[in-house]
Structure formats: C-alpha cells, structure tokens
Assembly symmetry: C3
Homo-oligomer: 212 residues x 3
Amino acid sequence: MLLHAIYLVAIVAEAMSGAIIGMRRGMDLFGICLIGTVTALGGGSIRDVLLGHYPLSWIAHPQYLLFTIGAAIVTALVARQLHHLRKVFLLVDGLGLVTFTVLGCDIARSTGAMSIGIHPGIAVMAGMITGVFGGLLRDVLCNEVPLVMRHELYATVSLVTGALYMGLLWLHVDAAIAALVAVAIGFAFRVLAMRFHWRLPGFSGEGIRGIE
Amino acid sequence: MLLHAIYLVAIVAEAMSGAIIGMRRGMDLFGICLIGTVTALGGGSIRDVLLGHYPLSWIAHPQYLLFTIGAAIVTALVARQLHHLRKVFLLVDGLGLVTFTVLGCDIARSTGAMSIGIHPGIAVMAGMITGVFGGLLRDVLCNEVPLVMRHELYATVSLVTGALYMGLLWLHVDAAIAALVAVAIGFAFRVLAMRFHWRLPGFSGEGIRGIE
Amino acid sequence: MLLHAIYLVAIVAEAMSGAIIGMRRGMDLFGICLIGTVTALGGGSIRDVLLGHYPLSWIAHPQYLLFTIGAAIVTALVARQLHHLRKVFLLVDGLGLVTFTVLGCDIARSTGAMSIGIHPGIAVMAGMITGVFGGLLRDVLCNEVPLVMRHELYATVSLVTGALYMGLLWLHVDAAIAALVAVAIGFAFRVLAMRFHWRLPGFSGEGIRGIE
C-alpha cells in the first residue's frame, strides 16, 4: 500500500522531469504531455512487453494517464519556478527510482508464477528496466544520447536495490519487509551517490579506433 | 469496406512520406524501403504490441508490406517530381491520419471484447497511437526530435477524431455511421488547421532551468 | 548444434561492436554493458515481441546476458588493441549476421506452427529483423542515423540468406542441410560484398523538396 502511494508520487515526478526536458527542446503542449507520460510509464511498459505481461499497467488503470498528463500540464505552467524545488525533486526522483525497481521485480515474479519460472537475475533486470528505461526513452525521443548511459550510479542504484530485494526474498524474508528494506537502503545509496558525486569509470572515447 | 480502401491508400501515402525523409537523410534503397514501411505500419504495430493484440496486421496480411515497399521504391524513382503533388499528398495524409485513428479505436475495442474490458479513453489513446506513432518512429530513426511533438494539431486532430468516434458509439450510433462521421469531421478539422495554421501553445525553452 | 555454437560466438561479437561504439560516445561502464547487450539481443527481442513469441530468448536463457555483459567488459578493458583484430572481427560479425537470420526464420516458423500459419515472406522478414535490428537499436541509442540504412548490403545479405533458407525448405530439403547451405552462401556473399565494396544505389538527398 505504501509502495503504491510512493509509486503515484513517483510517476508524477517522472512526468515532470520529462515535461521539463521537452520544454527545453521547444515542444508544444501535446509533445510535453506525451514525453511526460512516456518518461513516467515507458519503463514499466517496456518491461511488460518484454515479459509478455498483459494488460499493461496504464491500460488496466487508465487513471495513471491523468496523473502523468496533469503533471505535465502543471509543469508547463510553473516551469520557471521549479528550479527552486530542485532538491525536493531529486529526492522524490530517487525514491521513485527504487520504488519502480522493487515493483518491477514483483511484476516479473508474478509473471513467472503464471507461466514459466523467471530466473531471479531476470527479475532484477526487470526491476532495472522499470526504473531506468523511462528516462532512456525520454532521451531517445529528445534526440540525445541517454543520460543514464553516461551517469551510471542511477542505474547502479536500481541494480543494487533489485538484487537486495530478490536476495531478501530468497532468504524467506516477508515480502513487505523486504520491499521496505530494499527501498530504504537503495534510497540512502542514491542520496549518498548524489551528495558525494560517486560515479563508475567512464571512457573518454579518444584513441578508440572502430572495428567496423 | 470504404475505411479499408482508405486505409490502403493511407499506408501508401505514409510510406511515401517516410521514403522522402529517408532520401533527404542520404539513405540507400534498403533504408528507404524500411523507413517507408516503419512510417506506414509502425503506429499500428506499437498499438498491437501495447495491447497484446496478436498477430500484428502486417503479419496476418503480408501483402501490406508489398504496398509499402512498392510505394517507397516508386517514391525513390519520382521524388524530384513529387512536390508538384504536395497538396494532394497533404490531403491524403490527413485522410490517412483520421482513418488510422478510427481503425485503431476499433482494434482496441475488439481486444477489449476478447479479454479484459478496455476503457473508452484507452481506445482513444490506441487510435492516436495508430495515427501518429508511425511518424514518430520515422523521426527517431532519422535522428530528429519528432515533428509530431512540435506541430501538435496533427496529434490533436487524431485525439478529437477518436474521442468523437467513441462518443458516437457510446450514444449507440451504428458503428459504420459513427466511423464515417468521425472521419469526415476529423478530416475537415485537419484541413482547416492546415489552411489557417492553427497550433497549440508552444514553449521557447528559454529560461527553463533543469531540475535534474 | 553447430548453429547454436555460432550463435553464442555471434552475440559476443555483436556485444563487442556495441561496446566499442558506446565507448566512442563517452558512455560509462553501465552504458557500455547495456549498449552491448541491446546490440546482441535487441534484434531477436524485437522479432519475438512482434511475433508474440514468449518467453524471449534471454529471459528463458539468462546466461546469454552473462555472455554479452562479459564481452562488453572485456571490450572496455582491451579496446585500444582491438583494431588489430579488425578482419577477424568483421568475419565473425558476418557469420553472426547470417546465423541470426537463419535462427530468426526458424523462430517465425515455429511460432507459425503453434498458432497461425506464418507466410514464408514474414519468416524471411523475421530473419532479417533478427539479423539487423540489433545494430539499428544500437545506432538509435547512440543518437545516429542507423548505419544499416546507409550501407545496405548488410541487410541485403540477410534478406538473401533468409530467402534462400526458406526456399530450400519449400523444396523439402532437410532443415539442417538447408541451414548450412544458406549460412555458407550468405557468408560468402557478405565476404565478397565487403571485398569488392558492393553497394545498392543511394541518394544524395539534394534537390529533394519536402512534401509535408
């Protein structure tokens, strides 16, 4: 229940992040609503399509679209003031990332129960796809090299959260407790990573000759 | 039946629009056939994958591929003359947009009858996805910020057409009559929007500071 | 069995090609693993989603992910030396292309046997999607106009291989023999195309006026 409430706050935050990037690219109101919705619900949609998990969440619960479209429109109206809320926004976005991840793992587990057995590693992947592929779609539509491929602790936080959650379930920890522990530790990891600018090794690309 | 005939004309027109943009990006013959096909059939494919509606239309009816590939090849041969047909082309494209939309709503309704109940708002979304996501895929493959996100009355026409069609069905109007009325009014709306350069509010992007 | 062994070598080669392009775009370690995996497994995933063929290969066989992620990490470590292996790499990549194609045709045939009859032309398309769409996704994520749309003999080789394989099956040739013949002839075609720089007609894009 708590996870579900956090989920609703998170899709609003994701929709707002998409809307802001859309505005910076000169999109109109329709484009802003679309990019906000894709950012918020795209990760979960890709996960469901890859797993064959139908119906998709926003088709079963059309009210999610009202949340994302509403968030995009509000963002378009107040965008010039939003940078004052930058820190709040980053915290909500980080909370959303870990919540999306845990919910994505759960969807993969339930799909596995329905048909084939899903490998725990695939459940962790499904969680990560839920957490980060919305932002990846946003960047592809805005014609940019996806940010998530260049600032990786975002994805790493998702991976760690999913692995922790699946590990706790494997140890027969109660699902609700496992979810809360994974969300809490994942969120703390994300906050620390932002605070201390942790990052994975990157590559300058210089001196790399093509092989194709 | 009439809708189906318009549909075939529309996929030819969409394939031609894709082929022309591909030629301007320096693609070769294969790329032009692929971009034409994706533009014409991509919107319906995304809709079917999101709904879990299998088999996809072009897999059940492979002859659609002959239409789109043929249209792309013809376009490659006569592209230098095509701008004389600009007005005819825009009219066919507008007719295709509203036809795609109504057919997309119908697919969503029939999917809903098969398994879960589909919300009427989701059927309108499915119609809009059918109408505008082919062009969106085209622009992503051609490495551009999708046009549909910047010139929005295209998408708005699709939304109005789908909402009108679903509204008439809700009022128990016969499906064939509802389809014709929605296509006629949607098409008139599109023609007027082009004639008088109607557009939604856009955003300059200046002064928008990031929050990520 | 032989095809399966070639398949594993091919996904490693594809993952390496993706990783190298990711490094040139300044991605970090996570981005490089993701782009390598998408390049290697993306074509088959798109094919399976379009056909409604579940579960996807990497969900049923999670060890494929270890191959692609391992290949990407190794590539990141030794990238500066890889251009010495350029010719070996191109040969493995060409062998992978025709192997992916034949395996993609087979998946489409088996899907057809399960539910609806799949048209042989659609099986050829499914083979081509398997062969070339991984590289297409790689280029979209790296924000480039897909290479496959500009250097088409790559896709043409896939098309010829798939058509040859389906043609041999239609003539009641044993499936294993048909696969080996198609792979051998397709591979020879690819090697000759590279050696003699064969290409399809391209278009300069100059003088093409838009019709939208």
